[in-house]
């Protein structure tokens, strides 16, 4: 990047500069910190033929699939957590359209191992998994090595090195030093595995805040290309300490996504119909915002003195 100390840009610019048609894209966050704001901007900018990778496609990829951005999906659990199905995804798979969605399927452990290998720049990762399962039979990328010590056969998965990883976080400085608390998911591994990294945060903080508690930093600025400040950017997922998960919306999605027309209208209203995240939040309404805003529950500090 031009200035190592200021990578701040708008979501529009970040997506325009760093996400291209045909890219392998990871928007991670396991239930926590899923960057819907970035997905919506990708939809607005009409990116196409993306290979979307995530443990849990969740609503965020169901929306990208419905909007026609996806060519392929790499995943390990494709449901609506606590609710049921992802209907756009199911339609794409069950009633194979003109251009069907390609699937590459793992278990959670397998996909976690793939991003770990990618982050470590190893070509594969070993794991004790898949014995007795049909998964290897439908995924030729699940292979094995023989241990040079015990001669056991150990399963392997190939490294996943996305063109771009988008990570949502609570806060970062303008250099991209990013701090996360609450659930980590595979955000760190996904960021280190990528060629380009976009960090989207609830708050930009002074470098002093980061340096006051370095153990909270999950992603160092040296691997970050763009920093976007997008409050509520993870809604309807959540950001610990900022806002709660919007479980009602996850339930509403069942009906919205079940009906193609309703889904198209939702995209028109909440994605195409708004200019940016601020517009989305305005449309969402003050009441929901108020209901979801996190209550304060501060942790005590620790002593870094010596």
């Amino acid at each position: 990047m031009a200035d190592a100390n200021n990578k701040l840009m708008s979501m529009r610019d970040a997506i325009a500069r760093l996400v291209a048609d045909g890219d392998v894209v990871v928007i991670e966050g396991f239930t926590h910190l899923i960057c819907f704001a970035a997905a919506h901007e990708i939809i607005r900018q009409r990116r196409r033929n993306l290979t979307l990778c995530r443990l849990t496609p969740d609503l965020v990829y169901d929306q990208l699939i419905a909007a026609g951005c996806a060519k392929k999906l790499v995943f390990s659990w494709a449901g609506n957590p606590g609710v049921g199905s992802l209907h756009a995804l199911r339609r794409a798979v069950e009633q194979r359209q003109t251009q069907p969605l390609e699937l590459e399927e793992y278990s959670h452990f397998g996909l976690v191992a793939r991003v770990s290998a990618g982050a470590a720049k190893l070509p594969f990762w070993p794991l004790r998994d898949y014995q007795g399962s049909d998964l290897p039979a439908v995924n030729p990328n699940i292979r094995s090595v023989t241990c040079p010590y015990t001669h056991e056969v150990i399963a392997t998965v190939p490294a996943l090195n996305p063109d771009v990883t988008i990570v949502h976080a609570q806060r970062a400085d303008t250099s991209g030093n990013t701090q996360i608390w609450g659930l980590y998911g595979v955000q760190k591994e996904a960021a280190f595995a990528a060629s380009r990294v976009i960090v989207v945060v609830e708050e930009i903080v002074d470098e002093k805040i980061v340096r006051a508690d370095p153990n909270r930093t999950l992603i160092p600025g040296i691997i970050v290309d763009a920093v976007v400040c997008e409050p509520w950017g993870a809604h309807p997922s959540y950001a610990q300490g900022y806002y709660d998960r919007d479980n009602d919306f996850y339930v509403e999605w069942e009906d919205i996504s079940r009906d193609e027309a309703a889904l198209a209208k939702w995209l028109d209203d909440f994605v195409y119909g708004v200019a940016d995240r601020a517009g989305y939040m305005k449309k969402l309404g003050e009441a929901r915002r108020t209901r979801l805003t996190a209550k304060p529950l501060m942790s005590p500090g620790v002593n870094y003195g010596f």
């Binding site: 396991f30 449901g79 957590p81 479980n247």
Partner: protein, 249 residues
């Protein structure tokens, strides 16, 4: 089912918990006979004490007040593969006579009739957890003789036995249904009816599986849930009855 599932847990067990009924069963066990149960969610929350019934396995209520938060790489490598998990709960759309579980597709994989969510952590939980407890309603649809796709290995099947595959965990040692409990026979790992709830007819129950369901010679009648257990479930743990109907309790 929640009550029966709760009874399968021992005090001090480290449990890999899913959402819904398993979560409810764990909280019931903690509130009754197993106060030292340690709940671990694949999302990374360790020792969670949710102050509300979590709707997703990544609910913020699982993090706040927990003992530790682990990266998912640590959860799967150090906790699960590391052999630190005693109990894993699994459900599924199909469970076959040997406890193999399908949560991937109904119909052929390439042209599925129904595309299910897939494995998530189920495959590795079935392999590594010391004991697996399966919770599912006993119907011919849910318990076919053979599953359309093996997502998570059971006790026996086309790939061999757990012993021949040298799987670290014991697999599905208990299947808790709405009519009774199934357990794998020691000689061939086939699930058989070992216990029923009061008032359930064993002959009727035998018809609920997609294979000729064997009934254990020592078939036991399970005691009904205590009033305290029912009170906890209905008034405290699941006041909005999100996961329990009358029968489910």
């Amino acid at each position: 089912m929640a009550v029966r599932a709760a009874h399968e847990l021992h005090d001090g067990d480290v449990v890999f918990v899913g959402i819904g009924l398993p979560n409810l069963a764990c909280n019931l066990a903690r509130a009754t006979h197993a106060p030292n149960l340690v709940l671990i969610y694949e999302s990374g929350a360790v020792g969670a004490v949710p102050d509300r019934l979590p709707v997703s396995i990544g609910d913020p209520a699982l993090v706040t007040g927990s003992l530790a938060v682990a990266t998912m790489a640590d959860v799967f490598q150090f906790y699960l593969q590391g052999g630190r998990i005693q109990v894993g709960f699994l459900g599924g759309a199909q469970i076959d006579r040997y406890g193999n579980i399908n949560s991937t597709v109904i119909g052929p994989y390439d042209k599925p009739k129904v595309r299910l969510p897939g494995s998530g952590g189920a495959c590795e939980i079935a392999i590594h957890a010391k004991r697996v407890i399966v919770v599912a309603p006993l119907t011919p649809r849910t318990f076919p003789a053979a599953v359309d796709f093996i997502t998570s290995p059971g006790l026996n099947g086309k790939y061999g036995t757990r012993a021949s595959m040298r799987l670290p965990g014991a697999g599905p040692v208990r299947v808790v249904t709405d009519l009774g409990i199934l357990e794998p026979a020691s000689h061939d790992g086939e699930l058989e009816l070992v216990a029923i709830y009061p008032g359930v007819d064993p002959e009727e129950t035998k018809k609920k599986a997609g294979w000729p369901l064997r009934v254990a010679p020592n078939l036991t009648i399970l005691p009904p849930p205590t009033s305290e257990e029912l009170r906890l479930l209905r008034d405290v743990l699941d006041p909005n009855h999100l996961y329990i109907g009358k029968r489910d309790a």
